[in-house]
Symmetry: C2
Subunit: 469 residues, 2 copies
Amino acid sequence: MKSPFYKLLINFSILILTFNTSSSQVAKNSIVSKAYLNIAKAITDTAMSDCKAYSLLKELCYDIGPRLSSSPQAAAAVEWARQNMLTFGFDNVHLQPVMVPHWVRGEIEKASIINSSIVGTVSMSISALGGSISTPEMGIVAEVIEVRSLNEVKELGTKAEGKIIFYNRAMDSRLMNTFFGYGSAVDQRTLGAIEAAKAGAVAALVRSVTTRMDNVPHTGLMYYEENVHKIPAAAVSTVDAELLSKLIKLENQVKVWLRLSCKTYSDIQSYNVMGEITGIDRPEEVVLLGAHLDSWDVGHGAHDDGAGCVQTIEALRLIKILGLKPKRTIRAVLFMCEEFGIRGGPAYADSIKKNDPNHIAAIESDRGGFMPRGFSVSADSGTVERIKKWEYLLENIGANHIFQGGGGPDISPLNQFGTVTIGLIVDDQRYFDYHHSANDTFDKVNERELELGAVVMAILSYVLAMEGI
Amino acid sequence: MKSPFYKLLINFSILILTFNTSSSQVAKNSIVSKAYLNIAKAITDTAMSDCKAYSLLKELCYDIGPRLSSSPQAAAAVEWARQNMLTFGFDNVHLQPVMVPHWVRGEIEKASIINSSIVGTVSMSISALGGSISTPEMGIVAEVIEVRSLNEVKELGTKAEGKIIFYNRAMDSRLMNTFFGYGSAVDQRTLGAIEAAKAGAVAALVRSVTTRMDNVPHTGLMYYEENVHKIPAAAVSTVDAELLSKLIKLENQVKVWLRLSCKTYSDIQSYNVMGEITGIDRPEEVVLLGAHLDSWDVGHGAHDDGAGCVQTIEALRLIKILGLKPKRTIRAVLFMCEEFGIRGGPAYADSIKKNDPNHIAAIESDRGGFMPRGFSVSADSGTVERIKKWEYLLENIGANHIFQGGGGPDISPLNQFGTVTIGLIVDDQRYFDYHHSANDTFDKVNERELELGAVVMAILSYVLAMEGI
């Protein structure tokens, strides 16, 4: 952005777009499309010469750290986000109250195989699942039964009584979309304790839902069901899951000792953090950019979803420092409490209902700070086609793959208002190496990949705020 | 590959391809194209269920380590590669002699800013450039002049005499293709010492050619010119380059002490390692898969180019264990000495000349073990179009971007025989974080991304070995 010629080109581009207020059909190669190309290039060049997303993420990861919704660190993250939005000069920076669950892991979480004739007593790497109750103070000792599905537990009959159910179905590694691989196994984590309890089991262990074979357990939310006895549940590292499985095959009645000390308190108040660039022409019409500010209480929550948060802030900063004045409002919303049952998204949607603004689109980044590949659009195919016409602006980055698909958990409550919800799609091969684990740390994020995610969010949000859908 | 139905499908697909021996025009949706799709899926599923590339790379990185062409580790890597090719049952496994330069870094490489009134004496992170001579035993002390280009040195006139020239032009971070960014700065490293010596300088320091801002120097090859005085040259970490540049701006006559202890000996003999799946129909026609076995002497040479080596081996292994019998020969060649002046590639090409086989295509992986995106084809546009028709086989992986471009340094000598040379293209945003530095270690490689590179090499080489070009 140092060349005066370049500045001139941007200003000229803005001029063209100011005079073309109703270009619902922007033909490629038209003067308007070239103006948008100039702006996309300016956003990209500025971002790659003066990245801020990475240093923001470093602050969030190292100065604040993991930030479970109800934790002091989550409160720090709220204030950190608010101050940054003010520093960057966003309009209308404010907090929106959200009630969030208050669960703490507790200091003790331990598990051991205790009676193996082959390996003796072996401690296992475990992580209590989010929402789990604690065990009794001296823990639980019980024989372990291995299953591969919720249905297998149903078929166990009385055999499950008094036992620990060990869910050991791996992610399907053959699926190229690792989110589908995750979907192929995560029901064991979310619903495993319910089915195990129904069958009379005393605890549930779940193989970590990850593509890695290592010693790091991956936590995540679990559910209990009303009128079903609550039992404690924990994730086991893939290496220990493999060991346990082998021992069960080789020996009779492998027993495990499990000790968790989790506690659940009453819900507490936290906040969504928001700021915006108010539209100069139709300020009541909103294009939302969002991510979730909370994380799990292990690692840094760097990819999940610190990356999305700093990309959201950075996208608005880029639009702002280039002096771009969108016709419609571009709003950044950092949602509190996605991980622990999706509270911030619905709270935001409720507030919309009351104030009746028109949210034409919402773009969410919650798939990690990896190389952007495109956008997944939750809308009818005609709408998807209308958004696809902007693919040429994303071609230089290779993120020009716009297709019909899900938007994202925090913004999906906006679908009820006819908002087009859009998910940032990235190269996701590495995501489940880190997801919900101590491995999700700042050093796993690449500066350029992270920043390019912010760039494509800035480009798409700007053009939608200018042209509508 | 456990389902009998699936085995049946593959066998049926092979049967179809056996009966279609001259399908130069394979229409999409034809029975032949579906047979290839089945095989591509079988290769992918097998690879993702039973990855070997990652554990091979772990051996190469941890058991052998960095392997500069002339080093004992390079000899170990040759034997390691040969043994693995034999273990996996490749045909015609053998070594091909290559003479390689013998340069050693030596034990001492040190540099300090010694006379700053602001920071006093500060040591700098440096790495001798490959091929550099040593300094005198007590080092060189001289004033530093900062330049941004080779041309600037020419313009210095007598000012350069007795000085250390400090090349400090950064990679152009705005370029999406980081190899172009690398190309925008690397001339300072390769030719900097020559221009500095011509101007009368006593040494050259070069800003590391990397996208990172950190304290890790990035080495790489440098050249001397006949009849031009040789001076020592080293890379400086980007953090120290920034510091040195700031001090030069603030102070008069910043002096640096530089001590290198490199040595060059006579060339020694090393080897290219090769093995193949001999074609059952036209064994004399070859599709080559290749990478370079040597690396720099820092880090693990994990991405550069351990990744390419294990992908090459893995691609052949996948074809072999699926029982596929290509019509033409698919040959794996691990080239020795790419880094130190590209010796293995020309040696291989020379041997071809004598034996006169027909190499229809050569595919090289030397851009890091990142997510594959497609292939760059060095050929006329008609040929590129004929290879593009196989994009549908790579679509599932998102590596279906085949375009006209460079093949690769080791295989480019084959262009003289009319061989179509092809480079594996990957997401390269992270590559120059690691390239030629202590950061290029095993832990920087993701198992799935690495394996998928092997998968697309297997798919493309198999279909070219069946159908020709």
